[in-house]
Symmetry: C2
Subunit: 325 residues, 2 copies
């Protein structure tokens, strides 16, 4: 058994050929071809673009890159549902913005400045319980909440082409990591099932944590304070803190991913940067430089000079979501 | 190739039998037997102590648990060498404690309170360069510096029995993580070669990091400020931030590991806590409740009631260090 296992381990680190036929939901075209060419070259030992197995690290934004982020970040929907539930114990919220707006269903009353402001609300509504109790709250919500337009569970609104891309990269020896502005503890309970990414390969925004012994049992308690914002300049910093080396592949979809894309694609060795451009209002959403959620402006302008591949969702993807079972 | 790889992957997640003969530097006795019994039970599917592969996470303190920490933390030796090198550009240090003490070779003049104070000095002497430049400085030092007593490179003073333990646990499907009070960026450049632990599985203390674009290239710059202390209560917090779930095995050697041991061994499921007791003044060092470095007092007192296994280095280990090649 042990010898056989050793043989298998040895085989597992041999460069596998790139297996493009697994990208079944990707239409043939220059974008798909460029990604497959990169992976083929990266796994061709003795080739000029070969990447050593330990350096095969690929980072992915989550919101808008691996799953839908409209009409609002899904973590915001979770947050609003939480606040509605908690409001019974907080009568003062009826007159107190931003809670007032949430309770009245007026989400436009919320602070506009996206993820940093959102994290402040997250800190208030997501704290005061253990890490394990919070994971249970997230799992419960994911099992019961439904997206307003598609009437499906949120974790079924992952992008099928990206699920295939993650599999394809892992089959070719790449580690796949999420590097998201979203809260790390909101993602960890469900990403392994949705994407095949284990919780320890999720980098995200974090709130305060405190070690406490409660009734004799050590617990990690969640505290109502922002600890780290993993967005924009924070993404390369989060990568450095968790991974400790510069990745070779980055996928993003908004200007919040600009610094991660730039950090990854400015290395001396082979590298790949990809932008998911939301162009499909029929099957998903179409938005870029004027969107409140997932603004994509500077990264799209600079993509040609930076050699970032731009995926046109309407043209490049033959399907958007996986089937429901 | 692909099918064969799939077969191998499938085999790799099957529970392997515990292979105790690989623990060649461990003397037979109750400590070794207890660890092997635990691993055998954890990998026995359908058994009452079975641990699912995704939950097989083992965390290890570094200083004093995986390598020697006397006569001072090895990172302190690195720090002093750095300060001696930098002193040429800092004439004011000659009169300024704690630099004065370092320059005069009087290490006892340093603040006594171990890792937190040390991290302040680390922040001063380890900042102002990119992450990649710092990794190079660490690698250079590791290649040239020698331990004062053993006259060997510091990274050859890892404990051979623990290297075997890490291999043994990985062979049985456990992820092996370092959770150390030491600086994460001091460990990452060499732990993969020394222990087989990749940089992304190292949790440690961290200084400030900042994203900067320097001459058009994005870099992570190291800043002279403490960001996170991964010691005592910080260890379970660091585990939660990086791994996102409670491990099932913890190895430590000092009261700085108490909270990690307690956190890991208070879960409802199967778990294992182990303390390395330094009892071998001939081959290594003997110290516990009165040591300035690696104080072991409360954890040793509580070990019997907490069911933590105590390793007696003199009795349980047939050798301490690997051979030099």
């Amino acid at each position: 058994m042990r010898v056989f296992s050793l043989i298998c381990s040895t085989i597992a680190v041999l460069p596998l050929p790139a297996i493009a036929q697994d990208l079944a939901s990707w239409n043939d075209g220059p974008a798909k071809a460029a990604i497959v060419d990169f992976v083929t070259a990266a796994t061709s030992e003795n080739g000029p673009q070969w990447i050593a197995p330990e350096d095969r690290i690929a980072t992915f934004d989550n919101d808008g890159t691996l799953w839908t982020e409209q009409p609002m970040y899904f973590q915001a929907a979770f947050l609003f549902d939480r606040i509605l539930k908690m409001a019974a114990h907080h009568p003062e919220w009826k007159e107190q913005p931003p809670f007032k707006g949430v309770l009245e269903g007026d989400f436009s009353a919320l602070p506009a400045n996206t993820e940093r402001d959102l994290m402040e609300l997250v800190a208030v509504s997501h704290a005061g319980m253990t890490e394990e109790a919070f994971a249970e709250i997230v799992r419960d919500w994911m099992a019961t909440a439904r997206h307003p337009r598609f009437n499906r569970p949120y974790d079924s609104l992952v992008f099928q082409p990206m699920v295939e891309m993650l599999d394809y990269l892992r089959d070719n020896g790449f580690q796949t990591w999420i590097v998201s502005g979203g809260g790390v503890d909101f993602m960890r309970p469900w990403v392994e099932k949705a994407y095949g990414i284990p919780p320890q390969q999720v980098v995200g925004s974090q709130i305060g944590l405190e070690y406490q012994v409660i009734d004799g049992k050590p617990e990690i308690m969640r505290k109502p304070e922002v600890f780290f914002i993993d967005d924009k300049e924070g993404k390369p910093v989060g990568i450095s803190r968790h991974i400790g080396k510069r990745p070779v592949i980055a996928f993003g979809n908004s200007d919040g991913d600009y610094q991660m894309l730039d950090y990854v694609t400015s290395s001396a060795g082979a590298h790949l940067g990809v932008i998911i451009h939301h162009t499909d209002a029929v099957r998903e959403y179409a938005y870029d430089k004027e969107s409140k959620v997932g603004l994509l402006q500077q990264a799209l302008i600079d993509a040609p000079t930076k050699n970032w591949i731009v995926i046109d969702m309407a043209k490049d993807w033959s399907r958007i979501y996986p089937d429901l079972h």
